[in-house]
Amino acid sequence: MTLALFIEQLLNGIQLGVMLFLMAAGLTLIFGVMGLINLAHGSFYMIGAFACAAVAAATGSFWLGLAASLAAAALVGALVEMTVIRRLYERDHLDQVLATFALILIFSEGTRWLFGSFPLYLDIPQVLSGTIDLPGGSRYQLYRMAIIGVGVAVAGGLYLLIARTRLGMRIRAGEADREMIGALGVDIRTLYTVVFALGAALAGLAGAMVGALQSVQVGMGEPVLILAFVVIVIGGIGSIKGALIGAILVGVVDTMGRFLLPQFFISFMGPSQGTAVGSALASMLIYILMALILAVRPSGLFAAKG
């Protein structure tokens, strides 16, 4: 194993982490402010990817597609919030799980209804193709570097939004005490819709950016959703900072596990057994990580609420 390969894998882990952060940030905000578990968050990821692919195919511009993904996910998010989600805030987690599970079925089949059964095409924009050189003789794909950049920018933007703006102040108030913001004269309904749409838009953005790397197809959101839940639980539900650190942790552990574990087991079990055991263990690794962290810190690393 060379240093260059190690650095490249580390970057891959960070890039995966950043992508998970975009999903997890919305989830954790929605939980922190409204107390809602949203299983349908993966659907916004899918909607973002489909919107981007469809608009990019029609106009030839990835950037228009990206804008469309943000708009579409935010719009659908706001609509769903106003028609369905709004009725769930006062319910227990059980009802929320079931209702948003139902939404997954509706969105998945609805998307297939609209776009057909075959995967869509979406490629990375021309200006971001190619690689850049890194110290140590390794190279890294420019587009993935850009994803890391977007993730860092979003994290910074969210920090400024929450720490410095009126909306942020209301979000913080909402996290601290839900009744209080009503007393402050804030229109809670609008605030909730805005927060939900913001979370959906971030998921849509993640879906669009990743859609250029992967396959744009129905059901693409659910595996990411599960990972994003792992992230926010590790980080501490309701905490943006926890989501960021949890996401990077999960991204790096998952990538490095897939990279290093098979090699480790091959070194004393031989190639075929070692690969099998190492791969099996690698696929369980982040869940093991999560169980370990929760066993020691039952409310995650940076729990926002007790």
């Binding site: 089949e109 297939r112 075959f118 190279r139 897939r258």
Partner: protein, 379 residues
């Protein structure tokens, strides 16, 4: 609703002509029509229905139901079709794990099952059954073909890659069975994995001279896109699944030039295939995939067998299916002792025809190839 009308029609025809009704055949099609894998099921179904239409056949009634790619649901639907719909034969399953769930139980009840896609090794070997016919391929076949082709192309050091599940292991085993060179690396990825940056980085560092991968569905799309975006640039080999017509559009130009193995291609030169490709395009407005060709062949096999024997006479009908005297779109086709195909397997290359990505045949990997498990089958 549709089902009710169909049942009504059957009832009516029974009432009108009690004598002629003996020849009507009820086929149960269990296939995947929802979720991420729906494209494959849609193609098999469309190919199947097209064959019936082209033949002007009205005796075959098809009951279709979506299995949602869930084995338990597939089993339930199979029970329903056998016990409630009283189908004469079953077909349609796309995935090996669903086939493994459904087929052993169904064939035990003396119902014929014709596989239009999956061909798990167990069903070809020790668990083979007189009531189970595979009209597509045994799972290893296309991978074996790629192993043989890699030798012909002069590759000495291949990096091979598949998901960590039985069909993935069969795929790499199949490739290695024929490939004579060394392995630069062998990686099992997580099932459903969509980011291959880590694997691609390892491939770059491995010193391989070619890559063979089996990553069905969205996994293959993701891998090909990411591989093309990286600057590794080694030649890529794979079975047809990641380069079939249903997903080439989503892979895009990344797939151009890739060699892949298939028992069918739209440019196989025979009358049946020409008619199939033309009528499929006319009917559905898209090019057919190999899955569609398999559905089409399955239907034609049933039609041919029905013309020779009554479906009610199980033994005679089974014998008629085994003779396989139908115009296959892939040319020569016959069944081996284990009811799996003995057929040619081609090497195709992804090319662009106008704006459309598709495949053309560039060579033949095997002629009259039979699967490796036939000897284990005591039939």
């Amino acid at each position: 609703m549709k089902k009710l009308i169909a049942a009504g029609v059957v009832g009516l025809s029974l009432g009108i002509s009690g004598l002629a009704s003996a020849e009507s055949i009820k086929v149960g099609m269990i296939t995947t029509l929802s979720g991420g894998g729906a494209g494959l099921g849609v193609d098999v179904r469309d190919g199947f229905m097209l064959a019936l239409k082209n033949a002007g056949n009205t005796e075959i009634e098809v009951v279709t139901e979506d299995d949602g790619q869930k084995p338990e649901l597939a089993v339930q639907i199979a029970d329903k079709m056998v016990q409630s719909e009283k189908v004469d034969l079953l077909t349609g399953i796309i995935w090996s794990n669903l086939a493994m769930a459904v087929v052993p139980g169904v064939v035990q009840q003396d119902i014929l099952y014709l596989s239009p896609n999956a061909g798990p090794s167990a069903l070809a070997g020790a668990m083979c059954n007189k009531n189970y016919f595979n009209v597509a391929w045994q799972n290893d076949n296309l991978h074996e073909a790629m192993g043989a082709y890699a030798n012909d192309a002069g590759y000495k050091k291949a990096y091979i890659l598949a998901p960590n599940y039985p069909a993935g292991k069969d795929a790499l085993t199949g490739f290695k069975r024929y490939f004579k060179g060394d392995l630069a690396g062998e990686t099992y990825t997580q099932l459903g994995q969509t980011d291959y940056a880590a694997e691609i980085a390892q491939i770059r560092a491995s010193g391989a001279d070619a890559i063979f991968f089996f990553l069905p569905g969205g996994m293959g799309i993701a891998f090909m896109k990411q591989y093309a975006q990286s600057d590794v640039g080694l030649p890529v080999l794979g079975p047809a699944f990641s380069f079939s017509q249903d997903i080439l559009g989503a892979v895009g130009d990344a797939a151009l030039g890739v060699k892949n193995s298939s028992q069918w291609s739209k440019d196989i030169d025979n009358a049946a295939n020409k008619k199939f490709v033309e009528s499929f395009q006319a009917e559905y407005g898209r090019l057919p995939s190999l899955y569609a060709s398999q559905g089409y062949d399955t239907a034609n096999l049933i039609i041919a067998a029905a013309s020779k024997a009554s479906v009610k006479d199980k033994d005679a009908f089974r014998a008629a299916v085994k003779e396989a005297e139908f115009e296959s779109v892939r040319g020569d086709f016959r069944f081996g002792n284990n009811n799996h195909p003995i057929q040619d397997i081609y090497v195709r290359e992804v090319v662009k025809e106008g704006d459309v990505l598709t495949n053309k045949i560039v060579g033949t990997a095997f002629e009259d190839h039979q699967d490796a498990y036939a000897a284990e089958c005591k039939m």
